[in-house]
Structure formats: structure tokens, C-alpha cells
């Protein structure tokens, strides 16, 4: 009897734990901080998670096919500086400014897929290597400097361009619905979430992704071209990271160096927090969004409480490890008892 209650409690935690934690944290900060529960702050939180949500969506795709992509943080860093350099160094038209980083994201995905599928390097190791390569490329590309409007080169000359205001509206623009401020990146984020959810849930491609991840051999024997599906998942992961990079540049207004470094950890945490939401037991879009929301709320609240930024990593790491504990404990228990 007691074991039954424990079992049920565990499952309840698994299904709704993450959502309760988000609500709990939200209530806590609302009571504790005067300025937390204001329309503008909530808009801020949403805007701040839009970047990590895009990156986390990418990670979701790689995890669905039973892979892993550690290179997303570096991809964000690289695409951030590339986007800025397109404007500041080369004064390119908007289409190129956005197109080139997207292309780079796709190429990083292809590179990952090449190592993982063709050379059969385990996904964690392959993307770890790629992560370092991309991080190195992005620093080499800018020689270690962030890219600002009319930046000074070491030889004394000045960069010709600026990060255009029209570009910055992508990340910083807002419009108003009544008294509510809705940042434009939030719209992008919500659109992407809905699109990804529909894609994964209701289309052939989504089903193929999940089946490939669920049992690659069975999927292949059922006529799914699993290598193609896995390659596409990594390409989507890279492109999502690239979108994150573009948004980052636009939001901050500079091509900051190492912008993506903290995002890898946040994105992975978001996906694993979301693993269990509503008992999905597998990577899913809605869960990923809940996870990103949790991290966004935490970071926002902690910042408002004047905690030093370097303590945030401790809290984010703890959230990740808790989410992983619940997920893997329940998932593995379920598997061992069924066999």
C-alpha cells in the first residue's frame, strides 16, 4: 500500500513537478519583490527567454533522435559575431545579414552529422569537438574583440558600418496590446514553439524523428531513412542556434564575444526540465518552453534580488541536476519494472 502511494507520488511529481516549481518560484518572487509582478517585467522575462528557447528547441530536436548537440552554445557565439560583422564590417543588406548566419548554423549541423553518422563518433564527443572548433573559429574571426558600431581595428582604421536600428527592432522592438507590452522576439518565439509543436506532433517528419530516436534499428527496417532524419535534426539544431545568435546581436546591439557560452547549459537544462512535463517522458516542445520559462523566471528574480550573476550558475546547475534526477529516476524505474 505504502509503496503504491510512493509510486503515485513519484509519478505525480514527474508529470507536474516542473510546472509546480515554475508556479511556486513565480509566486515566491511576486511576494518577495515589489517590481516582479509587473507587465513590463513579465515582458522582460519573456524577451529574455526567447533566445534560450530557440537554442533549446534545437537541442530538443537532437535529443528526439536520441542524439545530443553540445555545439549549440558555440554556434550562437559564432553567429552572433558573424551577424554583427556583416553589418559593421561589410555593410551587407539585411537579407545577407540574416541569411549568412542561418547558413552557418546549417553547416555546423551538417558537420556534426558528418562526424556522428559517417564516422560514427559518439554524439557527445563529436559535438564536444565541434563545440571547441566553432568557439575557436569565432574568436579567430574577430581576433578576440567584440564587434561594435564603427569599431576600431588594431591597425587604427575604423569599421565602416553600424548595427542598423531596423535590425535591432527584431530583438528590441515592442508593440502594445492594451497596457501590455509585447516584445517582438516573444512573438517569434511563440510562433516557433507552435510551429515546432505542430511539426513534431502532427506530421510525418515529426513521427519519423521520434521513431528514429525511439528505436533506430526498427525505424530503419520500417523504411525510414534514419541517417537522413538524424542529419536533418542536427541541421535544425544548428539553424535554431543561429536564430538564437541573430536575436542576441539584435537584442544587445553588439556582436558580443562568447555570447553563447552560458546558453548551452541553460538550453540543456530547459529541455530536461521539460522532458517530464505532463508525463511525456521524452523531449517535447511544450516541456522545453516550460523549462526555459523556469530558468528565465529564476534568473530574472535572482537578478532583482541583487544576487551576483556568478551565483546564478550554481542555481541553474542545481535545477538541471534536479530535473535530471526526477526524469532518469522515473524513466529507468518504469523501464526496469516493465521488463
Amino acid at each position: 500500500m505504502e509503496a503504491g502511494i510512493k509510486h503515485k507520488l513519484l509519478h505525480f511529481l514527474f508529470r507536474y513537478g516542473a510546472i509546480f516549481v515554475v508556479i511556486g518560484v513565480f509566486i515566491y518572487f511576486s511576494l518577495r519583490l515589489d517590481n516582479f509582478l509587473t507587465a513590463s517585467n513579465i515582458g522582460d522575462i519573456m524577451a529574455s527567454i526567447s533566445i534560450v528557447t530557440f537554442v533549446a528547441l534545437g537541442v530538443t530536436f537532437s535529443l528526439i533522435v536520441d542524439g545530443f548537440d553540445l555545439s549549440v552554445g558555440s554556434t550562437v557565439s559564432l553567429t552572433t559575431v558573424v551577424t554583427a560583422s556583416m553589418m559593421v564590417w561589410y555593410e551587407m543588406p539585411m537579407l545577407v545579414v540574416i541569411g549568412v548566419p542561418l547558413l552557418i548554423g546549417a553547416l555546423v549541423g551538417l558537420l556534426n552529422a558528418l562526424f556522428i553518422i559517417k564516422f560514427r563518433i559518439p554524439d557527445l564527443l563529436a559535438t564536444l569537438a565541434v563545440m571547441y572548433i566553432i568557439a575557436g573559429i569565432h574568436k579567430t574571426y574577430t581576433k578576440g574583440y567584440s564587434i561594435n558600431d564603427h569599431m576600431l581595428f588594431p591597425d587604427g582604421s575604423k569599421a565602416p558600418g553600424v548595427i542598423s536600428t531596423s535590425f535591432q527592432t527584431i530583438g528590441q522592438g515592442e508593440f502594445y496590446i492594451g497596457s501590455f507590452t509585447v516584445p517582438i522576439p516573444v512573438i517569434f518565439m511563440l510562433l516557433a514553439i507552435v510551429a515546432a509543436h505542430l511539426l513534431l506532433r502532427y506530421t510525418r517528419f515529426g513521427r519519423q524523428l521520434y521513431m528514429t530516436g525511439g528505436n533506430r534499428e526498427a525505424a530503419r527496417l520500417s523504411g525510414i531513412r534514419v541517417n537522413r532524419i538524424r542529419t536533418l535534426a542536427y541541421v535544425i539544431s544548428g539553424v535554431c542556434a543561429a536564430i538564437g545568435g541573430i536575436l542576441f546581436t539584435s537584442r544587445v546591439g553588439t556582436g558580443e564575444i562568447d555570447a553563447g557560452a552560458p546558453l548551452l547549459m541553460e538550453a540543456v537544462a530547459a529541455v530536461f526540465v521539460g522532458f517530464s512535463v505532463f508525463g511525456a517522458g521524452k523531449p517535447n516542445v511544450f516541456g522545453t518552453f516550460v523549462g526555459a520559462l523556469l530558468i528565465g523566471v529564476l534568473v530574472n528574480g535572482l537578478t532583482m534580488m541583487n544576487l551576483q550573476y556568478y551565483t546564478h550558475d550554481i542555481i541553474k546547475g542545481t535545477v538541471l541536476v534536479l530535473a535530471l534526477s526526477i526524469t532518469f529516476y522515473v524513466v529507468n524505474r518504469g523501464r526496469s519494472s516493465s521488463s
Partner: protein, 531 residues
């Protein structure tokens, strides 16, 4: 020591039993394993209901039953993997308290599971693996003496009457040898009861014979040997007594000499069953699939075969003859190195299973859980896996309604026992899982079905259903290639039987022309004229 004194003082029930048995002129039981009134439920569903089970030392006792009858659960209770809800276990008249595997092992109850790899450390030598439990004991010395280990391991092997390469790494052993390592380990531990859970399923005929010899030796040394198997002929060949379980109840126990396979099957099913499904005779048409001189690796060395419309072609051979490899070449899972495949006279080249499926050639693979199904997904999702294209429109949007409808149709047609189409496949029994692995192709428009050991680990009832399904597919005009190591099945179901040996087709028989002996003769490299 304590056990024998215990036995001497508390032998009265055994004595009474002896008297009763002596009328049936059985050999006199020296000691006894008794399980009394065992009950076990999972989530409120009873799996074992008041089960009594007895086995003597010095006998091989077969425990039979269809899948889900409760025989594995009963043995898991005995070996401590599960704890029972009610009832008790006695060994030599002494009541045992078994709550975990450690308890069972400490009184000498061991189980040799089918998945041998889970109990072995591949990087260690054979001797070290045999001595593994000894080393793991709390009382074991800090220092390990390799010489001592080899001596002890050698003693255990001598007792078994087998020669194992003691210094070899376990990772280099064959499956049958690994099994022997596990058995040797039980002997080192002074086992009194050894449970064999379907040990012969993955073995070839010769390997099984060797295993039986070992079991015979263990029996002669006074052990209680409990043998779980789906293969009735071997049960009748080597066992002394048989216990049959059905739906969590022990329904029958008797000496093998006083029963027959038909009887036992009847008890397993709860009804008597004609031994074979009557073969449906259907008109046979033109050649659909033809393979010429297929070569790949060292397992397939020039295979020629053809399958016609409406024809069931069985390819038989012992384990390792290259059957699985051939089935994988025909369906594009592996690449052929030489030779050619043609479909309806048109030469084809498969780079991926998807290419083969596009041409109408599909595979029902041997390892259904690993290769045929996505077990953590629902019945519906598994059934629609190969036909996603049909279920979706130009944009790739899936039609959930039609998907559900088709899944429900297949479930009904194949009599798949499942709570609903949403149930996860992992919760279904082996036979129903296999039906799903077959059923998912029904709507795919396949012309050629390639089956690799479709009845492996499937109970008698489901087996019958599967034969009927395959017969039905042939009737609809599909060509069937049926790869199996069960010769009787091939004779029962096939229109034509090809015998495979060492990577080649060595003999061909028509339906009526073959006997099991003949098939075995050619499958084990016999030459024409020697018979």
C-alpha cells in the same frame, strides 16, 4: 551440514510422499523442493494463484506453459527476484525465507537466465567469471590467487564434463560456451537447485545436445534441475517429470512416460489442438523475387532462391548457417557484395530497407523488440510506422483518424490482445508483439514478406495465430520467404523447403517430400547419397 540434520529430523512429510509414490514405481526421492500456496499479484492483477510446486533432487523437472502462464513469475519467486504475497518455500523440509536473490543463492538456488550476457563480465577470463560470486562474497579474501581460481574453476568444469578455455576472455566465447560458464559458476557455489530459463532457445542443435548432457550430469549428482522450454520434443527427450501451468495456476504434473506432446499441449492451451494448422493450398503464380548467387561476408556464400506469388518458401538451417544474413540482404538491411536480386524480372539494387520496401519487399526481423518494434510507443504508432506516407497529405500532415481506424482494423484482424490501440507495446506479451511486427506491413502494399524466425519465444496459442496469418498472406497472393531453424514448422507451413548450410542452399524439397530427419541431415552438412 545443518541441512542434512534438518532433513533427518523433519523427513516425515517426505516419507509419506515416498510411500505414495512407490506404488507408481518411481525412483525414490532423496530430498525435495516444495513451493506451497504461492500467490503473487502485480498492480492488483493476480499472476500466481495458490500454486504448489514440487521437484525432487536427481530429476529434471520441466515447467511448461504458454507465455503469461506464470512460470517465469514462479521461478522468479523461487530465485528471489520477486517476493511472494503468500505461501512458502521448503528445501529438504526446511522452510526458507527468500526475499531477495542473495537469500536464494545462499541456500543454493540458482537460475541460469536466457540473457547470459547480463551475468557475465566480458573483459574477464572464463575462470574469473566462474569464480565471480566467490570473489564478490563479503568473506572473500582481499587477495586473489589466480592459480587457486583456475584450479577451482577447472574442478567445476570437470564436474560438468565440459572443457572450457579457462584463460580465454568471456567476450570471445560463443553463446553456448557462455551458458556453460554460468552453469559452472552454480556448481562452484554448491548449488542444490538450478533453474534453466529457456536455455536452448538461442542454441543450435548440437549445442543443445551438449547442454542436455550437462543437465543429465547435474541430475545424477543429486541436484534439482528445473527446465523451462518452449520446445516440447526436447522436454520429452530429457525430462523426468512435467508440470504445466496455465493462467497462474498449476494445472498438471506427471511423469513424462505417462503423457504425450498432444496431451501437454492440450493442458497448456486448455483444449486439445490439432498439432498443426492445416495447410491451405493456394494457386501458385509467377516468380516475384529471385536472388542469384548472393555473397556477403563469410556467412552468405552464393545463395540462389526464388519465391512465387502465393508460395511459402521455407529456408531452414541450423543456427549460424547464414539464414538471418540472407534475409537481411534480400530486404536491403545489409549490402550484397556479389550477385543480384530481381523483382518481377526487373533487376534491383537496395541501399537501404526503404528501397526494398518501395519495391514491395519487407522484413519481419528476428529480434522483434530490438528491430521490429518501438516498444516505448503505442500499438497504433507502431502499426502506422511503415505507412506514414499513406496516412499523410502533401504537406506531411498526418490523418490521426484514419491512422486509428487502420490500427483498430489490424488489431481486430490479427486478434492482437491489447487494452486499446494507445497501449504501449512494451506491456503486451511476446506473441502479441510479434503480431504487431507482422501487422504493421499489412497495409503497406508489400508483395514479398520475409520472416526471420517469426515464432521465436512465442507461445503455442500465438504460434497458431501466426501460422494462420502467414497462410492468409499467401492466399492473398503474396510471396513468403520463411527463415527458420524449426524444421517441423517448415514442414507444416511451406510449399517448398530450401535447406541452407554454411552460407549456401544445399537441398530443395517439395512440401510432402521432406522429413525432419532429412532436413537435419542436409542442414548439418550431409551430402546426397550418404543418407
Amino acid at each position: 551440514m545443518t541441512l542434512s540434520t534438518q532433513y533427518a529430523t523433519e523427513s516425515s512429510p517426505t516419507v509419506a510422499y515416498k510411500e505414495q509414490r512407490s506404488e507408481c514405481d518411481m525412483d525414490i526421492p532423496r530430498s525435495l523442493l516444495r513451493m506451497v500456496g504461492i500467490e503473487k499479484s502485480f498492480n492488483g492483477i493476480p499472476t500466481l494463484k495458490q500454486v504448489d510446486f514440487e521437484a525432487y533432487s536427481g530429476e529434471i523437472h520441466a515447467l511448461l506453459g504458454a507465455n503469461g502462464a506464470g512460470k517465469s513469475t514462479l521461478m522468479n519467486v523461487l530465485s528471489g527476484a520477486y517476493s511472494s504475497d503468500a505461501g512458502h518455500i521448503e528445501l529438504h523440509g526446511m522452510k526458507l525465507q527468500i526475499d531477495q536473490p542473495k537469500d536464494a543463492r545462499s541456500v543454493g538456488i540458482y537460475c541460469v537466465y536466457q540473457e547470459v550476457d547480463t551475468a557475465l563480465v566480458p573483459q574477464l577470463t572464463v575462470a574469473e567469471n566462474i569464480m565471480l560470486d566467490q570473489m564478490a562474497k563479503d568473506t572473500a579474501s582481499w587477495w586473489v590467487s589466480p592459480a587457486h581460481q583456475y584450479r577451482q574453476a577447472a574442478v567445476a568444469c570437470a564436474k560438468l564434463g565440459v572443457e572450457l578455455p579457462l584463460t580465454k576472455l568471456v567476450s570471445e566465447l560463443s553463446l553456448a560456451e557462455k551458458q556453460m560458464v554460468l552453469i559452472a559458476r552454480t556448481l562452484v557455489e554448491q548449488a542444490k537447485v538450478v533453474i534453466f530459463d529457456e536455455p536452448t532457445a538461442p542454441l543450435s542443435q548440437e549445442e543443445a545436445v551438449r547442454l542436455f548432457a550437462v543437465m543429465q550430469l547435474m541430475k545424477e549428482q543429486g541436484l534439482v534441475v528445473i527446465f523451462i522450454s518452449h520446445r516440447l520434443p526436447e522436454v520429452f527427450a530429457i525430462c523426468d517429470r512435467i508440470t504445466v501451468m496455465r493462467d497462474g495456476v498449476r494445472v498438471y504434473t506427471d511423469h513424462v512416460a505417462r503423457t504425450s506432446i498432444q496431451d501437454v499441449v492440450g493442458h497448456m492451451l486448455g483444449r486439445t489442438l490439432a498439432e498443426q494448422v492445416p495447410k491451405q493450398v493456394v494457386p501458385i503464380g509467377d516468380i516475384v523475387l529471385e536472388a542469384k548467387n548472393l555473397v556477403a561476408g563469410n556467412r552468405v556464400r552464393g545463395v540462389n532462391l526464388a519465391a512465387r506469388k502465393g508460395e511459402i518458401v521455407a529456408v531452414v538451417g541450423i543456427v549460424g548457417a547464414g539464414k538471418t544474413e540472407t534475409s537481411r540482404l534480400l530486404t536491403g538491411v545489409d549490402q550484397i557484395e556479389q550477385g543480384s536480386i530481381s523483382i518481377k524480372g526487373q533487376s534491383v539494387r537496395f541501399k537501404e530497407p526503404a528501397d526494398a520496401i518501395a519495391k514491395g519487399v519487407v522484413l519481419v526481423p528476428e529480434e522483434r523488440r530490438k528491430q521490429g518494434l518501438v516498444v516505448h510507443e503505442s500499438v497504433e504508432t507502431n502499426l502506422s510506422l511503415p505507412i506514414l506516407k499513406r496516412l499523410s497529405n502533401w504537406s506531411g500532415w498526418l490523418n490521426g483518424k484514419i491512422e486509428r481506424q487502420l490500427a483498430a482494423e489490424i488489431v481486430e484482424k490479427l486478434r492482437i490482445k491489447t487494452a486499446s490501440v494507445q497501449t504501449l507495446v512494451q506491456y503486451l506479451s511476446g506473441g502479441n508483439q510479434q503480431k504487431i511486427a507482422i501487422g504493421k506491413w499489412l497495409e503497406s502494399g508489400a508483395d514479398v514478406y520475409v520472416f526471420d524466425e517469426p515464432t521465436k519465444g512465442v507461445d503455442v496459442g500465438a504460434k497458431e495465430d501466426i501460422f494462420q496469418i502467414i497462410g492468409g498472406l499467401a492466399k492473398q497472393g503474396h510471396a513468403i520467404l520463411y527463415f527458420t531453424c524449426e524444421f517441423a514448422e517448415a514442414i507444416g507451413i511451406a510449399d517448398r523447403i530450401l535447406v541452407m548450410c554454411d552460407g549456401k542452399i544445399v537441398q530443395e524439397f517439395d512440401r510432402q517430400a521432406a522429413t525432419q530427419e532429412q532436413l537435419l541431415f542436409y542442414a548439418s552438412a550431409g551430402k546426397e547419397g550418404e543418407l
